[in-house]
């Protein structure tokens, strides 16, 4: 399974990089989201994956009786997911706004706005 995940995150990165090399702003945003997902999987994998042992202490115990999944990567990823949502939400609204102003999704149309104003 680890090897599969390694291939998967490589593909996520490759797709993300490919998307941010495109001209479309929406694709750029999707690319950034893909890179984020790839990174989450990377952290998750490197923390060591364990099946069926969530880091939650039993009802009537004070400490773990058994092995448990590493909680630190999970805490990090949780933060990352939430923050990347903040980024995505803001970027989506910004895209909408740019589209309303320039009437285009093409990054090249944003290159020289000052000149167009003159």
């Amino acid at each position: 399974m680890e090897l599969l995940l390694i291939i998967l995150l490589g593909l996520l990165y490759a797709a993300g990089v490919y998307m941010i090399l495109r001209r479309s702003m929406v694709k750029l945003l999707l690319g950034i989201m893909l890179l984020g997902s790839g990174t989450n999987i990377l952290i998750f994998l490197l923390g060591g994956i364990t099946k069926g042992k969530p880091p939650v202490i039993d009802e009537n115990a004070k400490i773990f009786q058994d092995a448990f999944a590493d909680p630190i990567p999970q805490a990090l990823i949780l933060t990352a997911i939430v923050i990347s949502f903040g980024l995505t939400a803001f970027a989506i609204v910004l895209l909408k706004r740019v589209y309303a102003l320039v009437n285009s999704d093409d990054l090249d149309d944003l290159n020289t706005p000052e000149e167009e104003d003159i």
């Binding site: 479309s24 969530p54 448990f68």
Partner: protein, 770 residues
């Protein structure tokens, strides 16, 4: 001394808020600054003449060896007096010269800054501190030279001056750092003790070369002389100040200051004598062909600087004393001549000496100043210039390099003949002869303009008549600082009738003959200008031009305005670095036992995910790509569920749903993707992207095969309930152990939310829409 050095800096700062007040009658307050500094330094004269020196030590950055170490000895005092004394005259003069000019306050700000920087150069005892002030003089002189910044020529000259002196500054810094590293100290007085160590180091020639680069660029020695005539675009008070007493003398000061540390070797003596000797003759001949008053003065200044470099190179006791006398002589008469030229320019509107004449009838006090200065520069008996010239001949005749003595004397005589003629052209020619009709109505300017040159001119005469009074001081000034032992040489008005005297008189006569025979004209100037094709200036300009072209090309390559091209370069660079790191970190060993076998539905999830990924990348429809994106999110969510991360799964699920909804709500109106790029570029990007993915996978594999420390995980596991009373460890970490992190994360999200809200609420004005 610290206060004396910094006062100019402080005043120039104060000018920013209070400058506008100065344009009115309060501007005389500014002249108090150089005047009081002059008196302050004068008060040291008796003590310094008696042979003592003063030190002040204030810590600044001790860990780097940079301290406010100031040292006032004879050499520093001579320069400090020149800087403040001539400075007083310049401040008085400029106050009237620039009356009513809109950037009056700015000008004095630069001037104060420049004066401070110069004082700092000559008083620093720490070579790094000296360098700081050295660069400050380059920068402030840039502003002064380019003061008429609406004139393209003026800007260009300022830039040339800055780039030449700045280039020298780089070399100087390198030389100083090498010097400090070898000697283990950055203090000049301690460097003198380390002299043997430095001279025997194999880097000594290199240090010397670097130091010479600094001094030659600053003091306009061939082949770096060309910035100085260009700097004549500055307002005249600036030219007078920079080229008589300060800026260009800084290089001479540097040479004199370092001669007890680095001097006395063949490298030192021959280089300085060759460069100085060539420069003085070359510039002296050049000055005879100029018709612009300031042009003549510029070239005769270069020639004088050549003489000084030459004398310091000769390095004998006579030569050093000659140099120090000549520094003072030259400062006095050159400042006078510049100020006179400035008034002539101001009143008649021209500086062309072929058009000027007979001005003694209308500007009589000025003609006295001009003629006195011309006589001093010609070295007529009874002027201070005469003594200076005598000493130069003494030095060349009695040099240690005997077979060369006659050649050197010959060069000095030729140079001086040129300088005599040039001095007469600048100081005498405008005042003699018939007065042209159009200048008949010229009247004298304000007293504050013609008094400073007159005073300076008369001082030249006074010093000549009473050389003993000045001589005593000069002896100590140089002997102590440069030679390391006191000298007993007396300066006399009258030497016995000997070879030196004959040479002086011959020079004078020849100079007068040249003055009468040589009639400079525009035609001759043109002929000489043709030589510019092979001048160093030309090479320098072409070089600068090529650098500009290269930097333009470089900028266009890396900063072309296309985001994807930036991404491309960043990613390629990252790939190279990471691949290199992977390569040198050796082969990856896989521990097959660590690998778990995936179940059937896990493989299924991953296959779906990869399929969705393919759709996201290839689909032309925006909606499809968003939907596929959400599929990817849900699949990742499932992976989290399988591998014991319920909190992650819940978060991922919520966020993914929200993102998709937002995407669809906001962007549903957008058209589908247009395929902008050609196949070749798509393949290129595809290869770059895939290799990036492969590199990341390999890195992941490499890191994964290393053992993991479980210490921190165990700490959280054991203490989650006991310390924080929570059973879900991930939650406890987020809200308790790392609670402040989470709090700020919330703040970030709130800011994003505010941004989203305000962007949605913001209505477009009709004019904003394209």
């Amino acid at each position: 001394m610290l206060l004396a050095v910094l006062s100019g800096l402080i005043i120039s700062l104060l000018i920013i808020p209070f400058g506008k007040l100065l344009t009115t009658k309060w501007s005389f307050l500014l002249t108090l600054l150089p005047a009081s500094l002059f008196l302050y330094f004068m008060s040291y004269v008796p003590a310094i003449s008696a042979g003592s020196s003063f030190l002040q030590h204030i810590h600044w950055i001790p860990s780097l060896g940079v301290d406010f170490d100031f040292r006032l000895d004879g050499l520093s005092l001579l320069f400090a007096l020149l800087i403040t004394g001539i400075g007083t005259a310049i401040f008085f003069y400029a106050r009237t010269y620039l009356k009513g000019y809109i950037f009056f306050d700015r000008f004095f700000g630069y001037l104060c800054l420049f004066m401070s920087a110069m004082l700092g150069v000559v008083l620093s005892d720490n070579i790094l501190l000296l360098f700081v002030f050295w660069e400050l003089t380059s920068i402030s002189s840039f502003f002064l030279i380019g003061f008429n910044n609406d004139n393209a020529d003026s800007r260009k000259s300022a830039l040339t001056a800055l780039s030449v002196t700045g280039l020298g500054g780089f070399f100087l810094l390198a030389g100083l750092i090498l010097l400090g590293n070898i000697a283990g100290t950055y203090t000049i007085s301690e460097l003198i003790d380390a002299r043997e160590l430095i001279l025997n180091n194999e880097l000594y020639p290199l240090i010397l070369g670097f130091l010479f680069m600094g001094a030659f660029t600053k003091s306009a020695q061939f082949p770096f002389h060309f910035w100085l005539p260009g700097a004549m675009k500055a307002p005249t008070p600036v030219s007078a100040y920079l080229h008589s007493a300060t800026m260009v003398k800084a290089g001479i000061y540097l040479l004199a200051r370092f001669s007890p540390i680095l001097g006395g070797t063949d490298y030192w003596n021959y280089t300085l004598m060759a460069v100085g000797g060539f420069t003085m003759l070359f510039a002296s001949i050049h000055s005879l062909f100029r018709i612009d008053l300031k042009g003549i003065l510029a070239y005769s200044t270069i020639s004088a600087l050549g003489i000084l470099t030459f004398l310091i190179g000769a390095g004998t006791r006579e030569a050093i004393i000659a140099a120090s006398v000549f520094i003072l002589v030259h400062a006095l008469y050159k400042a006078t001549l510049f100020l006179v030229a400035g008034i002539i320019d101001h009143e008649t509107g021209t500086r062309d000496i072929t058009a000027l004449g007979g001005l003694r009838k209308v500007l009589w006090p000025l003609s006295i100043a001009g003629i006195l200065a011309a006589l001093s520069s010609a070295g007529l008996p009874l002027t201070y210039g005469f003594i200076g010239k005598d000493l130069i001949y003494e030095a060349t005749l009695h040099t240690e390099y005997q077979p060369l003595g006659w050649i050197l004397t010959g060069i000095a005589v030729l140079t001086n003949i040129g300088l005599v003629a040039a001095g007469f052209m600048a100081g005498l020619k405008p005042f003699t002869g018939a007065l042209p009709e159009k200048f008949a109505n010229i009247h004298l300017p304000y007293k504050s303009m013609w008094i400073p040159p007159l005073v300076l001119g008369i001082l030249g005469l006074v010093f000549g008549l009473l050389p003993g009074a000045v001589g005593q001081f000069i002896n100590h000034a140089t002997a102590d600082a440069v030679l390391g032992s006191p000298s007993d040489m007396q300066l006399k008005i009258w030497h016995e009738f000997n070879l030196v005297f004959i040479l002086s008189i011959a020079t004078l006569l020849a100079g007068i003959i040249v003055y009468f025979v040589n009639k400079p004209s525009a035609l001759k100037l043109q002929a000489i200008e043709r030589l510019n094709a092979i001048a160093p200036q030309r090479i320098f300009t072409r070089y600068a031009h090529d650098i500009m072209r290269f930097s333009k090309w470089y900028t266009n390559l890396f900063h072309n305005g296309y985001l994807r091209s930036y991404h491309l370069k960043i990613i390629l660079f990252a790939e190279l670095l990471l691949a290199y790191k992977l390569w040198i970190s050796g082969p990856i060993t896989l521990d097959l036992e660590k690998i778990t076998t995936p179940s059937f539905y896990e493989i299924g999830v991953i296959v779906i995910l990869i399929g969705a990924l393919y759709i996201v990348v290839t689909t032309p429809s925006r909606l499809t790509s968003v939907v596929a994106m959400s599929v990817i999110g849900y699949c990742i969510c499932l992976i989290f569920v399988f591998y014991s991360a319920p909190d992650l799964a819940m978060t991922q699920f919520t966020i993914d749903t929200l993102s998709t909804v937002l995407f669809v709500l906001v962007l549903y109106k957008l058209p589908s993707f247009i395929n902008h790029t050609g196949k070749a570029i798509l393949y290129r990007d595809g290869i770059i992207a895939l290799s990036f993915g492969v590199i990341i996978s390999l890195i992941a594999l490499r890191v994964w095969s290393e053992p993991i420390s479980e210490e921190i995980a165990n700490f959280y596991g054991e203490n989650a309930y006991i310390l924080a009373k929570g059973k879900n460890v991930v939650n406890v970490i987020l809200v308790d152990f790392r609670g402040i992190d989470t709090m700020f994360e919330t703040v970030v999200l709130s800011i994003a939310a505010l941004g989203v809200y305000s962007l949605i609420r913001l209505r477009l004005k009709s004019t904003e829409k394209e």
